[in-house]
């Protein structure tokens, strides 16, 4: 459709405004991450938009270096929370993808587990806070409190609905001819699934796994409840960072926040195509 020039001007103006509002909080954090301590809380007329003396001190600080006389070097550095976030999110993703993909195939091809779609929607619907009492009791009983594998297990369960629904829509769409040809050749159905279906579905599997990973990586509440010290994740660690001498460690937290925010943003852009499907449980496709 042809548009009038007035419309084009309006469109670019509206989009420019939306972009500015979108980027403001992000850019402020990026800028803060590179500010030296004196610029952290400059206010009023001194409000610094772009760091006057950009520095990497904030990043060095969260990894344990002493960068200034004003703040004591951290006893517990960001390394371990990063490791905790990575391990729990990766293994949570593996649990969700393995179980979800298998179940989705079982339902899509053989009609098994007809109760799962509704059961998993309900699982997805519940506020995590409303099921955490039994989970905390069970995790304490099983010795899973404050372990990365305990977190990975609950992450796997919480994101299982996404893995299941996403893979189900992909399996539903996949043409059957390839599988049928292999069946005629005499392959068992399980071999067809492992050797034909899964390799064909490489790309959908990868984007589903990335979405699940982003969701696991983004958790704060569950880690806050199920970890105490040794395996706190990045968001929990970030929130707990403060110093008795300077109060809020603005720059250090911003540096950490930036590190935590980068992976999901990049991965999210990479799987843009499948985001709609993933987040609406396959009800919509792009």
């Amino acid at each position: 459709m042809r548009r009038s020039p007035a419309f084009e001007i309006f469109r670019y103006a509206a989009i420019a405004l939306a972009l500015a509002l979108t980027l403001l909080p992000i850019l402020w954090m990026v800028s803060m991450a590179f500010k030296p301590i004196p610029e952290w809380s400059a206010t009023g007329a001194d409000l610094t938009w772009i760091p006057r003396a950009p520095t990497l001190d904030n990043f060095r600080f969260v990894f344990g270096e002493s960068t200034s006389d004003l703040i004591v070097a951290l006893e517990r550095t960001a390394w371990r929370p990063i490791l905790a976030s990575l391990l729990s999110a990766v293994f949570g993703t593996i649990i969700a993808m393995v179980c979800g993909t298998a179940a989705a195939y079982g339902l899509s091809r053989f009609g098994s587990g007809k109760n799962l779609p509704l059961a998993l929607i309900q699982l997805r619907l519940f506020p995590p806070m409303a099921v955490m009492i039994p989970v905390m009791i069970m995790w304490a009983f099983l010795g899973l409190i404050d372990t990365w594998w305990g977190l990975a297990l609950i992450y796997g369960i919480v994101t299982l609905p996404f893995a299941f629904w996403l893979m189900k829509t992909f399996f539903d769409e996949m043409p059957r001819e390839i599988e049928e040809a292999a069946l005629v050749e005499g392959c068992s159905r399980f071999r067809v699934f492992m050797k034909i279906t899964l390799p064909v579905m490489r790309a959908p599997l990868a984007s589903s796994a990335l979405l699940v990973f982003i969701l696991n990586w983004s958790d704060y509440l569950i880690a806050l409840l199920l970890t105490t010290k040794n395996w706190v994740t990045i968001p929990v660690y970030m929130a707990s960072l403060s110093s008795s001498m300077t109060g809020q460690l603005y720059g250090a937290k911003a540096a950490l926040g930036l590190l935590a925010a980068i992976p999901p943003v990049i991965l999210g852009i990479a799987i843009q195509k499948h985001l709609v499907r993933g987040l609406t449980f396959g009800a919509l496709k792009q």
Binding site: R109, L116, A130, I157, L221, G257
Partner: protein
Amino acid sequence: MSATETLPGAAAAAPRTIPPVDRESRRLGFRLTLPTQLLVLFIAGFPLLMQLYISLTDWSPLDGVGWWKAWESWNSFANYTDLLEDRRWWGALWRTFIIMLVCVPAEFLLALGLATLFMDDFPGKRIFYSILLMPMMVVPAVAGYMFFMLFQSGGPFNGILSALTGMDIRIAWLSDPTLALVAVMIADIWQWTPLMFLILLAGLVGVPEDQLKAATLLGANWRQRFFTIMLPRIKTIMVIALAIRVIEIFKIFDTLYIMTGGGPGVATETISVYIYKVTTQDLIWGYVAAIALVILIALSVLAVFAMKRMEAAKNGGRA
């Protein structure tokens, strides 16, 4: 979408969607779904019974007895009747509703407006689109910290207001009960408008171009095209987008808790924050279990409803 419209396609697909289910397939299907079934049972079956049991007692982890011995502090339905008179709980529920009533419509309208601007191609579309989606991918806790910084009394938000008005504005957003709630809502709108935008745009792009062209030829102006062609076509999609956001608002925690911790006082305490505080500070888990069960039952009803809408969307909304 009527059922008759989908019939021809459904009939053609029928022979292929119902494969001959022999014993081998049935057994494999059972085995493939087993791990998921077990996980669902593990997280839903047993815990729900445990929750129900504890919710009828005054049990607390500080009691020094295991949860299975919670009957020692049996109190029948006292937790449920207490809930009716718990003003903090009603306040939290009410606040959650307010946030929903402000944020969901705001996100919806902003997203719909933006989505209509992105319907056809124009230079820069792809990169603008990617940037506009960024907020929803930022870790919510980090987003909370971003807005915590923005709303400091000497922070950039006041800085922009000062620059615009020429006055030195030092509003302490996060320590004023009303403004803290506003700040929390702004953060939610910032983070989740992109999700609505993404979904609505996917719907709008699916509106057939020729229908719009035909309408234009017949002399329909953009307003008529928008309200009589586009909106009806994406009705189901709008319902899905709204349902997702309504559900998510009930879970709101990360961003808000980092920004205000539910404060000042209880000014920004939502149901999730309230439950979190009772769980970790008051430690009356019997009571928490009762609250949680009430929420679970209410949301289960919603789940059945949402499920039906999704089925409806699948059968016709995308035609």
